[in-house]
């Protein structure tokens, strides 16, 4: 390195210091510790129950734990519903909110509003709305003459949560809107002159340019789906009969309800592994369909 390069290196690292320290203390070390703990049994009730090395026992037990598979299955079931629906709805909304009609500021604000509400408030609101006897949804269904649905019953609880997630797409829509600004008007006009209808213009011009944004939102959505905890915690407590027992809920219970800290670390590590695999797959597939520039 030249002298200038070395000076820049130290200057750069100096500015990066807050992040470097934070990364070490709040990310790198905890992940390492968490890995170590996943091979231990301990309860954080020091001085009692100090970490005891038990090798692969936690992982062995996880494989035989029906709740592990159930919570994993639940999370994947939710992702299978909420991810595609969320992507479609948010993209669709962004497209329609991008149209040149008056009052777009108001419309956009309304769509964005639900994402401002604290998760706990919206969880309670929807708990109320989904109530089989007293809730708004069954009341509206009754108006049209359809029978009420047991929204939070065992069969429908997960789909209901996926439905509820569509209410909070505001964040994603805003990002799509920002991305849509980058679609050059000239290209669209040229396509129209060439005789392309609105659908063709969408598929051939807009979407390809939008692919980086779609990719970004996909990654965020995957991460979000696997981090979901507040809503089921408040609304259903994981029930009924574990129908909404998400993976993060399983982790939280084992850590803070039963104080099986080692077991919880193993659970968390598997979650990390799954998240890495999923985002890795997304990155790999990105080469096929994401067009930069």
């Amino acid at each position: 390195m030249t002298r200038e390069q070395r000076r820049n290196f130290f200057k750069g690292m100096a500015f990066l210091t807050p992040w470097l320290v934070g990364f070490a203390v709040f990310t790198a070390i905890p992940i390492g510790l968490s890995f170590y703990y996943s091979f231990c049994d301990f309860a954080l009730t020091a001085p009692r129950r100090a970490p005891l090395w038990i090798g692969l026992d936690n992982y062995r037990q996880l494989i035989h734990d029906a709740l592990f598979w159930k919570s994993l299955g639940n999370t994947l079931y939710y992702a299978a519903m909420a991810l595609p629906a969320g992507m479609l709805v948010s993209l669709g909304l962004a497209l329609i909110l991008n149209a040149n009609v008056r009052g777009q500021t108001v419309y956009r604000a309304i769509i964005f509003l639900p994402s401002l509400i604290p998760a706990i408030a919206s969880a309670m609101l929807w708990l109320w709305m989904f109530n089989a006897r007293l809730g708004l949804l069954n009341y509206l269904l009754g108006w049209i003459g359809l029978p009420g649905v047991n929204w939070l019953g065992e069969q429908w609880a997960m789909p209901s949560l996926a439905l509820m997630s569509l209410w909070g797409v505001g964040n994603t829509v805003i990002i799509y809107l920002a991305g849509l600004q980058d679609v050059p008007r000239e290209l669209l006009e040229a396509a129209e002159i060439d005789g392309a209808g609105p659908l063709r213009r969408l598929v051939s011009v807009t979407l390809p340019i939008l692919t980086p944004v779609i990719f970004f939102n996909l990654i965020m959505a995957i991460i979000g789906t696997f981090s979901i905890l507040t809503v089921p915690y408040i609304m259903t407590q994981g029930g009924p009969n574990n129908a909404t027992y998400f993976y993060t809920f399983f982790n939280y219970d084992q850590a803070f309800k039963f104080l099986h800290m080692g077991y919880a670390s193993a659970i968390a590590w598997i979650q990390l592994a799954i998240t890495l695999v999923l985002t890795g797959t997304a990155f790999w597939s990105a080469k096929k369909w994401v067009h930069y520039g």
Partner: protein, 300 residues
């Protein structure tokens, strides 16, 4: 920068425009309905909340529900608001300051390994909270045990049992804010820094006196996002706060939910609205800055 929302070119005929309006109105009605329902329930008397069929316009209008929220035995609105504010202020200050400093390093100083470190920083966004939750808790506990040994229990450096675990990490940069600020810094022309350097300014000087003042709008966005995250956060307080007198508003709302059944839905909705109010007001005030803030930084 923008006075009207950027859109596609004007629609050809009025019929198209009307269809779009109709679609938008339907969708927005769907999105607004829960809000309206929330407000309606918040003004009902308890007996009316369990009425079948439920009605939209409460009669009588019980605005005293809002008074009851503030005098509820389990929901100490003023205390919880104060707690949330304390955490919010420290978090927002920490986030904006530290993220700006780190982002400057990533954006304006070319050095070896910068790209890799930036990639690692972005990757940390993907780490789910539960993975580090237990270990961070243990690290705090370890720190507390040691400071207690040297300075006695209840000393100023104690982490657990105070608000510090909630706002201290913010002082080390927030990945999302760093990202936003870095994107913005990269759009500023190099000539600015070079001119300042010729004038004999140190790197820190350039940062503090030249670049930062230009960043006010983006800083505002970062501050706003940061504030709203803290205001609405439920999980971190759930893990780190146990004593009722330290509850934040989000935690406090749980007090209205009677798990044995018979929740006071009207008070719950009223309290929820009270808790949402600051973020809603802030959003309406800063709406344009908000949306533009993400657009100008590219969002990619």
């Amino acid at each position: 920068m923008m006075t009207a929302p950027a859109t596609t070119r004007p629609l050809g005929n009025r019929w198209n425009a009307m269809m779009v309006h109709l679609g938008l109105i339907c969708v927005c009605a769907g999105y607004l309905l829960p809000f309206i329902w929330m407000c309606s329930t918040s003004l009902k008397a308890v007996e009316q909340t369990t009425e079948i069929p439920p009605r939209f316009v409460p009669h009588p209008l019980r605005t005293d529900n809002y008074v009851k929220v503030f005098t509820h035995p389990s929901f100490h609105a003023v205390l919880f608001a104060r707690n949330t504010l304390v955490i919010a202020i420290f978090t927002v200050l920490g986030t904006t300051l530290s993220s700006a400093i780190v982002a400057y390093g990533f954006a304006r100083i070319p050095f070896h390994g910068r790209g890799i470190l930036f990639g690692i920083m972005l990757a940390t966004i993907m780490i789910p909270f539960p993975v580090t939750m237990v270990s961070v808790f243990r690290i705090f506990r370890w720190m507390d045990a040691h400071t207690a040994r040297w300075f006695g229990p209840d000393n100023a450096l104690q982490m657990l049992g105070t608000f510090k675990p909630l706002w201290l990490p913010a002082w080390f940069g927030s990945a999302f804010s760093i990202f936003l600020l870095r994107q913005f810094f990269m759009t500023l022309p190099k000539e600015l820094s070079e001119a300042a350097k010729i004038d004999g300014c140190s790197e820190w000087g350039i940062f503090w006196r030249v670049i930062l003042p230009l960043t006010k709008p983006v800083l505002a966005v970062v501050a706003l996002f940061s504030f709203m995250n803290v205001w609405n956060d439920f999980l971190a307080p759930l893990v780190y706060i146990q004593r009722p007198e330290q509850y934040t508003l989000a935690l406090g709302l749980e007090a209205f939910q009677n798990k044995v059944g018979g929740s006071e839905w009207n008070l719950l909705m009223a309290a929820s609205i009270v808790v949402c109010l600051p973020t809603l007001i802030l959003f309406f005030l800063a709406q344009r800055t908000f949306i533009e803030g993400i657009a100008t930084t590219g969002g990619k």
